[in-house]
Subunit: 330 residues, 2 copies
């Protein structure tokens, strides 16, 4: 299967039609106290309330629904230790096709159980000794199943972008013209998809991608104009945001559509999770909280402006969540 052309605003619109009635139109929430503190309007797109606990269902479902009937009968294969696994497995269940997910044997038991609960076949691999890509590609080769990548594909980008359409429509319904929108970024599927949607409806709104310190490959790539790599592959609390470098599909879009990157520390992320708990009654995972962290820390200015941040996932374990709460025990 050759790669379709770069995704456009119309592709996001088409994805929204496919996803209508499938994904939750997650709410846009604000808080009078936080607005008063920041001196502007901060709107949270609560994508942690999406089915499977993250935005990943949008892109995965759009991908599967865009495949030919013939390819669909042969199934889908993907690899992920986290949100993409759960999103792809559930999308396959909803579309009514087989899915095989390659997951590390030491992935959290709950995530493996959740992926299986959607009916996917889970193949466990040894994270150190085996390549999950090789295992996944071998399954695809043997069965004819289609590989569904986590971010670097036009259909994935267009699907994630539907969250951006909702943001602009929901802000408009509240009478708000948005100055900026920010979303968490690993490989860039969500942030560039949202940028396609937001720039299509509201060209003067700035769109930013948020990353954890030390894993700011996109921010550095945007500044340099060429793709940069992260030095490390692990070591941030944001386990969902560790892609090593921007994607081939996503980086050209990022260069064209995104403003400067936002980079936040683990401490700022934990503070943002605690604020989401206390003020917004939302469970947000570390990687899902980076854009909120940028707004609360002042790195993404809210004063005198209207800003939406995407809280992109809520799949966090008890111990990590308790750690965020402990920082602000009353």
């Amino acid at each position: 299967m050759s790669l379709p052309p770069a995704p456009t605003f119309d592709d996001v619109r088409a994805a929204a039609r496919r996803l209508d009635g499938v994904v939750v139109r997650t709410p846009l929430l604000e808080n009078a106290r936080i607005n008063a503190r920041l001196g502007g309007r901060l709107l949270i797109k609560a994508e942690c309330l999406q089915r499977t606990g993250s935005f990943k269902l949008r892109g995965a479902y759009n991908f599967l629904a865009s495949m030919s009937e013939a390819d669909r009968t042969k199934g889908a294969v993907g690899w992920s230790s986290g949100n993409h696994a759960q999103g792809l497995a559930e999308a396959a269940r909803l579309v009514g096709m087989k899915a095989t997910i390659v997951m590390p044997a030491d992935a959290p038991a709950l995530k493996i159980a959740n992926t299986k609960a959607s009916g996917a076949a889970v193949v466990l691999h040894d994270r150190v000794k085996e390549s999950r890509e090789e295992i996944g590609m071998a399954i695809a080769h043997k069965t004819g199943a289609t590989v569904v990548p986590p971010y670097d594909h036009p259909w994935i980008v267009a699907g994630q972008g539907t969250a951006g359409l909702e943001i602009v429509e929901q802000a408009k319904a509240l009478g708000v013209a948005l100055d900026a929108v920010a979303a968490p970024c690993s490989g860039g599927g969500l942030s560039t998809g949202i940028a396609l949607a937001v720039k299509g409806l509201s060209p003067t709104t700035n769109v930013h991608a948020g990353e954890p310190a030390g894993f700011d490959d996109l921010a550095r790539s945007l500044a340099a104009g060429t793709k940069q790599k992260n030095d490390k592959l692990s070591g941030s609390i944001c386990d969902a945001l560790l892609a090593p470098t921007p994607g081939d599909v996503t980086f050209p879009l990022a260069l064209r559509l995104l403003g400067p990157g936002l980079v936040v520390t683990d401490e700022e992320v934990l503070d943002a999770m605690e604020t989401a708990f206390r003020e917004f009654k939302l469970v947000v995972e570390p990687g899902g909280a980076v854009a909120l962290a940028a707004a609360l820390s002042g790195k993404l200015p809210v004063e005198g402006r209207a800003v939406t941040v995407v809280c992109s996932g809520g799949n966090v374990d008890h111990a990590t969540f308790a750690r965020a709460l402990r920082r602000h025990a009353p």
Copy 2:
């Protein structure tokens, strides 16, 4: 001011028009894994995402917006240590009128700060030595301010009922005909308001009120046909659900509209809070989780049915939330 007549379905409709654009149309959420486990469809009305973190804004705003212009200039007064204080204070800010809230001096500092942040004057009292009703009534007598009760008034009931209109409309949009709706109950404002709305739109749907064990005055009153009192005034984890007996406005409605009461233990409530965290990414306070606890424990059957439970508030302190998480540490 004499009491208006008992609230009707049309009063809930009128309240919904007043609240349009003021309250959040909180989402109706479901989870494929929980549905599979229960063998039916469980829909959560996530009212913890409401402004001020609970449904209380609905009734308080409807009350203030229903007052005469002349009365509104003289302000509002109320007493509460929790959600009603925050809802009334914020409603007054939104309507643009003065509010005085009598709160116990030993109420959580955060709740006092939140009430003040909405611009209300807070009068602290000694919970043991002083009567908050007497202090509040004295303020009303001196200033001409109107007392806004937490539940026992037709305008409050009608306002809370708007959540019920949303439930039926949102379920219909999902193609779901509801067999039952359940809501937490203290004085009965929320549950009877919702019953008015739900029975008006869908007469065959059963509506139930949930209460904590030991504070099941409504369940026993419904069974007896006459008002019963709780033996205790404290001692449940559900700090928001400790009203001693059903209200004069709410009990006749409850007798006419509600099915048998649902009574849950503190342990079932903590389990429900943990499930809300893990599967729905929602922060729910103990009192807000009793209806969910009834559904998850089987006391409110979901098998083969479609059931909505209201998660009515999310104002929970860090320590209590951590206690819920610890019960299921992976």
